[in-house]
Symmetry: C2
Subunit: 548 residues, 2 copies
Amino acid sequence: MEGLVLCSANYTPLTPLSFLERAAFVYRKRVALIHGNTSFSWEDLHGRCVKLSSALFQLGVSPGDIVAAVAPNVPALYELHFSVPMAGAVLSALNPRLDAATLALLLQQLEAKVIFVYSDFIEIVLEALNVLQEKDKPHFLALINESSNEKELPVSLPPTKILDYHTLLEMGQSNFKIVYPKNEFDPISISFTSGSTGKPKGVVYGHRAAYLNAIADIFRYEMQNMPVFLWTVDMFRCNGWCLPWTVAALGGTNICLSKISGKEILDSIYLHNVTHFCGAPMILTKISDAIATNQPLLPHQVNVTVAGVLPPPEILTKLEELGFNINHAYGMSEALGPMISMSRKYQDDFSNSNEDVNMKIREGIHSIMMEEVDVKDPESMKSVPADGKTTGEIMFRGNAMMLGYLKDTTKTEEAFEGGWYRTKDLGIKYPDGYIKLKDRAVDIIKSGGKIISTLEIEAVLIRHPMVLEAAVVATPDDVVGETPCAFVKLKEGCFVTDEEIIKFCEDWLQDYMVPKAVIFGDLPLNSSGKIQKFILRDKAKTLKWALS
Amino acid sequence: MEGLVLCSANYTPLTPLSFLERAAFVYRKRVALIHGNTSFSWEDLHGRCVKLSSALFQLGVSPGDIVAAVAPNVPALYELHFSVPMAGAVLSALNPRLDAATLALLLQQLEAKVIFVYSDFIEIVLEALNVLQEKDKPHFLALINESSNEKELPVSLPPTKILDYHTLLEMGQSNFKIVYPKNEFDPISISFTSGSTGKPKGVVYGHRAAYLNAIADIFRYEMQNMPVFLWTVDMFRCNGWCLPWTVAALGGTNICLSKISGKEILDSIYLHNVTHFCGAPMILTKISDAIATNQPLLPHQVNVTVAGVLPPPEILTKLEELGFNINHAYGMSEALGPMISMSRKYQDDFSNSNEDVNMKIREGIHSIMMEEVDVKDPESMKSVPADGKTTGEIMFRGNAMMLGYLKDTTKTEEAFEGGWYRTKDLGIKYPDGYIKLKDRAVDIIKSGGKIISTLEIEAVLIRHPMVLEAAVVATPDDVVGETPCAFVKLKEGCFVTDEEIIKFCEDWLQDYMVPKAVIFGDLPLNSSGKIQKFILRDKAKTLKWALS
């Protein structure tokens, strides 16, 4: 068609950096971030990010370079979500609770030019750097010190020079011209998978996906203009589900906590009028434990979204009675965090029309800006019938998706085989299109021609009043192929026999799903707090020989 | 960076077509559209659009072809917003109130392969087609008939064949594979400017801009999931501000009216629980006139957004007391409709801090997804000081912008000169970044070194209790260059002298702004209902000679 032109008037690469630029202009003096006694307005925060960005440029950071960060949810990590890409670089926020060996492995992959380290984690980072070859070491290590907990360090650690976050801020120019991405598919960040199924993989996000997912978050978590967001989800996990960028888009207020306990969360909600927070289901249990007998009702409805297996119904009800609106989400690093989310309140709409209790704890349906979510036969790529029964692989596709795995084209192509992202999660689809997660493909138990979801057995086990945590894996069985074996950690001071646990399961589950063995003890967790089922599977195999 | 891949798993061209696909899947049986006794669910509507799209394909419509429509806000026009691009084609919805000569001019530019015509407008379209050369005539004319008002037509009008909307729906295949754009910058629609400053220009929108602007509309008009949208804004005007696509994105309900009167609007609000509607400021006056003495309060807050000069404060207050939340918007065809919008309620926040009444009726600040909005010196392209005084040209840039003018690269390049869209509107910027429109550059009056905004004088004139409509233009003046001349249409049965009008203006305006002459009578309107100031300017010139 004649007469058309693309130029800066009608085309700008989509990037979440534009959210901060706009927030500084539109929301100005409104509080952007609170951490203890510190608080910054959107103007302040923008100014700090520009200066930090300028300092990175002065350190020689160029477009495409990687800047890593090892820090909890402190204001500096929030700022790095903007200032690193504002220098054209790519942020990799790492889990500060990794062991030195794993951290070294990731740093080796990253070849980061600068590493920001929160003072509490300096020892582990130095230990990891020791393992690295000279060529993989960063040029600079920037220490994030909080006055309460200042660390003394050598001035350099050849070839790495040591700097300090405040010094960087001081050396930055406030008139630095930030680097916009030339192409909206340029990388903005790298998040590592938790490695529950193997070595952590570096998942690369692009500016466009981050922008679109940050907007999708607004719908996914039912946000409105100027929310008050409490940081309980780790920013190193899928860039805090892209929420640092979402909060800037809406000119909201970020609340950072020094310690994420049930009491701190509750206190912050009343103090700051928190409207939203997110994280692992464990936060619900923490809050529940912290609720006092005469706890006042929440000042208004507070939206909390958790990704993972929900805690027992009593805990949910207790929280809902206080004023929480609990949402249940499902996603993964590759999809920039939760890709679908569903309010329990909304799920109640289905409870009268159907007796299947599973209907109420489904994963949801594709949200706005997500192209397609489906359950498919992984061989034929045909959709399974939407009958609430037939199992298939959950797959999806859309713009809010990773660009691929860092330096691993083979794994990227495998993940995108057939033009869909293959979650390796098994699920079913209901007649109304809603999806329910059954299990990880590797975790599923195949017993006498039947498929058993370990998640469903675990959901029953944690309803037992004495059970704190539970994990179910397959034990080899000569007759039916595999049978369920339960690993159970009891609450402190509790005692219960394996027969009692099995009896309890019999009340809730069909015969073939009831665990044939129950083993008590601590469960092996990885650095993200996820249960390492592959270790339990090995244990369960030995058990088979012990039992036979 | 190694390991990254772009494929259908992580990249889909942005297009509002995905909103309908998703709505059919997620919202299913929910009501998508109501028109009198007709109503369609999202599944129905999707099915109809697929079939119509298939029928267009059967008629030989190929990607890039243009399909025109001459119709009011009937369900068919809503459906064409999806079914035409679903066949890969480009929709041009035309103002059905154009005269035959103008319509012929536009059709000649478009070379549309198919024209959809609502039965009421068939005569004017046939008249326009008569003027066209054979090569510019459409292959098909599809009649949109409503049972109440069926028209008989010849079966063909060589070379144009005549068809009927229902026949097309019947011939369409429901398994037609819709055509997604290959490139998100592919055109989706062409809207014509109202031609208030010359010949109407064909403004071309792309899929990406339409998608992003439809999402931006959610924030701009403060919408939430499943709104009930009343169609008072014309769908032929900037594709109804992109709202056909927005309502699908949110799974809302569209209410189409046969007649847009104040009473019909009010009745629909109570009947359907309307949450949002939009249009020209005249709708507020119509509603105000239709409010009965014992009018019950609205069932909940209803958001209404109008673009243009607001009616007098009494009308606004009357509506607000009933439960309307009035928003004031500013935009143009080139920006896909209003690009900024501001709630009057929010503007009240400023009223205490500043005595400038203009602060309360400012145009707003750039909304989410709009890159930059500024007031600049059109020569130097420097921003004017944000002092609420210095006049400059309002300019902006962002992704929600036209691709250009159809077949007119020169005008496109002129509009985007310097990488910003130049509105040719004059405005000022306040210290808080908010923008206030002063006037169209061509309308402004230059009097003794001072700049006079005709909009400000008009806002005073319509406050006079006997004035229905007013327009102010410049009269040449030998001493000060130009002086304001007011053209005024009085309300029925009213009488007032020019001295009284001038006296009234003196109470509200500074001396140099008071009109030196007042002329009573009907105002010349174009087919969009906009006052044609260029005609008044010519009249005012003659007046100068008459007065001297």
